[in-house]
């Protein structure tokens, strides 16, 4: 995929399908360590030890429309192609955590891309699920948490067009501020 934010959208969709009610997306960009770490965690149905051992194989899927599941293998390949690491931990009825580490300055690393669009796509597709997205640099941190938004909105659903537009602007602004604070433009 062209952007890491597209992989994130895809991997979080797995969490949605697993029945999660709370999904965390934590991005840590460390220039010092020259690493970009993405941790996606959910409280969904989890996977058994046996299934987990096979899940990086494309022929492992619970889909019925086709025989291959490409989401996890593609994401793992994206990390490994830039001297990264990849790990999944999971426990049945507790949840799943997918951790990918990318060489930040590696030439084969895809750009992070449009995280605001990934988040609005997720929220408008699953307005009842809570998403907590944190983005950390060596010096600063940005947080977007739907639980805070829900508090303000009360009974009004999160997928209202006005709310989605607000979320898009909120994240774009937050990430621009993060980028400026380390003297770079947004990648």
């Amino acid at each position: 995929m062209k952007e890491l934010s597209l992989h994130i959208l895809d991997i979080v969709k797995n969490s949605v399908k697993a029945g999660a009610t709370l999904i965390g997306i934590d991005i840590i960009e460390s220039v010092q360590a020259d690493e970009l770490t993405i941790v996606i965690s959910d409280n969904g149905c989890g996977m058994s030890k046996d299934f987990l051992a096979r899940v990086r194989d494309p022929f492992t899927t619970t889909r019925t429309t086709r025989k291959v599941g490409m989401g996890i293998p593609l994401y793992e390949a994206a990390a490994l192609q830039c001297d990264g690491r990849f790990d999944i931990t999971s426990e049945v009825n507790v949840g799943t955590t997918v951790t990918a580490v990318f060489g930040l300055s590696h030439i084969d690393r895809a750009p992070l891309g449009d995280m605001a669009e990934t988040m609005t796509t997720l929220v408008s597709g699953s307005p009842e699920i809570d998403f907590c997205y944190t983005h950390q640099t060596d010096t600063n941190r940005f947080v977007f948490d739907t639980r805070e938004i829900r508090k303000e909105l009360g009974e009004v659903p999160l997928n209202l067009p006005d709310v989605i537009l607000w979320i898009d602007a909120f994240i774009k602004e937050g990430l621009t501020t993060l980028a400026l604070s380390r003297g770079e433009t947004n990648k």
Partner: protein, 123 residues
């Protein structure tokens, strides 16, 4: 700065509108395939184009929703349009410009964009 205060205003406005859009009759549904195959082929900007074109035109009788794999991965991004009382229309190999066309020609002016449908592309 974007503030949580603005959400309060959005909330008041939404509660003031009696006819919440989900209860409106004659709702059109636009369904975008958003599994790995769709996302890799460009479904995210297609979805976004539908949402923003519809918002721009104030067409709140159309609901945009997402689904998983429709089962024809090489034709992604795939978009299905459901108009009440009419047969489902399946658009394939979509992009942002085609999405804008479907909004204007099909959703606003009720004319199916035949050349973008699965029937035309598969020939």
């Amino acid at each position: 700065m974007k503030s949580l205060e603005e959400l309060k205003a959005i909330r008041e406005k939404a509660l003031g509108q009696v006819n919440m859009r989900t209860e409106q009759e004659g709702n059109i549904r636009v369904v975008v395939g958003m599994a790995t195959c769709g996302i890799a082929a460009g479904a995210r900007p297609v979805l976004n184009a539908f949402v923003s074109e519809l918002a721009k035109r104030g067409m709140n009788n159309v609901q945009v929703t997402q689904t998983g794999c429709i089962g024809m991965c090489r034709l992604e991004p795939i978009v299905e349009v459901y108009v009440p009382g009419e047969e489902k229309v399946t658009y394939v190999k979509m992009d942002e410009e085609k999405a804008a066309r479907v909004v204007v020609e099909h959703l606003a002016n009720h004319k199916v964009v035949n050349e973008l449908t699965i029937g035309a592309v598969e020939k």
